[in-house]
């Protein structure tokens, strides 16, 4: 039995990660879940959160995800992400501004505010901030 699986993380802007992986943790609506080699075929929808994966040498990589889709079968895992960033690449100030904006919009109500969109924007901003804070000193 294989102990690793092949992972590809793609966004519309390009490939973020590609390689052999021993474990991967991502966030779905129900919370964080893990994937090991020989996982049963699965399609999952991801929500804003962090994504942690371990490569063949035990090295851990963390990405900040703003949602996407994950498919795994035959030890091939593919994530089609809306966006995926390394914590070091995140513009922290921009995330703070985005959070403020989203909160304002949610607080304001009315005037044709798209609540779903504002809520998603808020979740993305909070996730960016949290991931940066957590991995700032790593």
């Amino acid at each position: 039995m294989a102990t690793t699986f092949h992972t590809r993380i793609l966004t519309a802007e390009g490939e973020i990660f590609e390689g052999a992986t021993t474990s991967l943790i991502a966030r779905s609506r129900d919370g964080y879940f893990g994937i090991l080699a020989n996982h049963a075929p699965m399609i999952a929808s991801l929500v804003p959160g962090k994504l942690v994966l371990k490569d063949g040498n035990g090295k851990e990589s963390v990405f900040c995800m703003s949602g996407g889709l994950l498919e795994v079968r035959d030890n091939e895992l593919r994530i089609l992400a809306d966006s995926a960033e390394l914590p070091g690449d995140i513009d922290y100030d921009r995330a703070c501004r985005a959070e403020e904006r989203a909160r304002e919009r949610l607080g304001g109500r009315g005037q044709g505010v798209d609540l779903d969109r504002a809520l998603l924007a808020l979740l993305r901003a909070i996730n960016r901030k949290k991931t940066t804070e957590e991995y700032r000193h790593v």
Binding site: R8, P41, R73
Partner: protein, 285 residues
């Protein structure tokens, strides 16, 4: 009969035109390289998305979603994609021709509403007073995922509210620098093929059925839009590159001809003057 001075002026003007077309050719080449790179980076993402959709559909989960295909199609939206700017050969006119044909030959031409994407096409359709459902006006000249997301969201809204029952895109598919093809591609609604349900791998769906479909379909739409746009930019810039190369080559040819004429005329003038001098010298002798 043009004088020598006219010919000289003509040569200068052709030369400066050639400088412009050569510069435009180089700019188009640079933009084309970027557009082609965008097409390539996008391909695995787009293929992955369609594969994932296919796998999901084969699970045969009974589900309902406003973006799925409808039984009755009363209103059909045709998104026609052209460029913002001209000077790209037959690129835009072949789009216009295909659009008119598509509308004329539709089962119900009255039921087809056009969504214009790119300034050229919105100008053209307005002149022809076609019914325009929506006009995005500017397209820009390079791929932006933010722009594609806006377009996808708008189409999604039009479809979900029932303003249209089907969305097709008419655009120029990029094959190579030498060949392009105008095609019509359906982007909405998405058909649930339960026929193929048997034999599919039993996928675990997280979250199950309908909710996952709700996360999946808007992303499929976005991916289709962004993939179309990537090809459109590659097509436009390669068309402009070819058109400008032809123009530059034509200018070279024209310059060769004009130079020949100029030299002949100059030689004739010299010969004439010489004949005059020799003639008058003889008369004095």
């Amino acid at each position: 009969m043009p004088t020598l001075r006219d010919i000289r002026r003509r040569i200068r003007s052709v030369e400066s035109t050639q400088k412009i077309t050569r510069a435009m050719q180089m700019v188009a080449a640079a933009k084309f390289n970027r557009a082609q790179a965008d097409v390539q980076t996008l391909r695995p993402f787009a293929e992955g998305m369609e594969a994932l959709l296919g796998h999901f559909l084969r699970c045969g989960e009974p589900a309902d979603h406003p973006l799925l295909a409808r039984e009755e199609i009363r209103k059909r939206a045709l998104v026609v994609v052209s460029s913002d700017r001209g000077l790209c050969g037959a690129y835009n006119s072949s789009i216009f021709r295909a659009a008119e044909k598509e509308i004329r030959e539709a089962e119900d031409p009255e039921g087809v509403g056009v969504i214009a994407l790119g300034r050229r096409v919105s100008d053209f359709l307005r002149r022809r007073s076609h019914k325009i459902l929506f006009d995005f006006e500017m397209l820009g000249d390079r791929l932006s995922t933010t722009g594609a997301r806006e377009i996808a969201l708008h189409l999604q809204h039009m479809y979900a509210t029932g303003e249209v029952d089907q969305v097709d895109v008419l655009y120029t598919r990029f094959i190579s620098t030498m060949s392009r093809e105008v095609v019509v591609k359906p982007v909405l609604g998405i058909r649930l093929d339960t026929e193929e349900a048997e034999g599919g791998a039993p996928y675990i769906l997280e979250p199950p059925g309908e909710q996952l479909l709700g996360d999946l379909l808007p992303r499929v739409l976005f991916t289709r839009v962004v993939a179309v746009l990537a090809e459109v930019f590659a097509s436009e810039h390669s068309a402009r590159m070819t058109a400008m190369r032809l123009a530059t080559d034509n200018a070279t040819e024209l310059l060769d001809e004009l130079t020949l004429v100029r030299n002949r005329m100059r030689q004739a003038a010299i010969t004439r003057e010489l004949a005059d001098i020799v003639g008058s010298a003889e008369a004095m002798a």
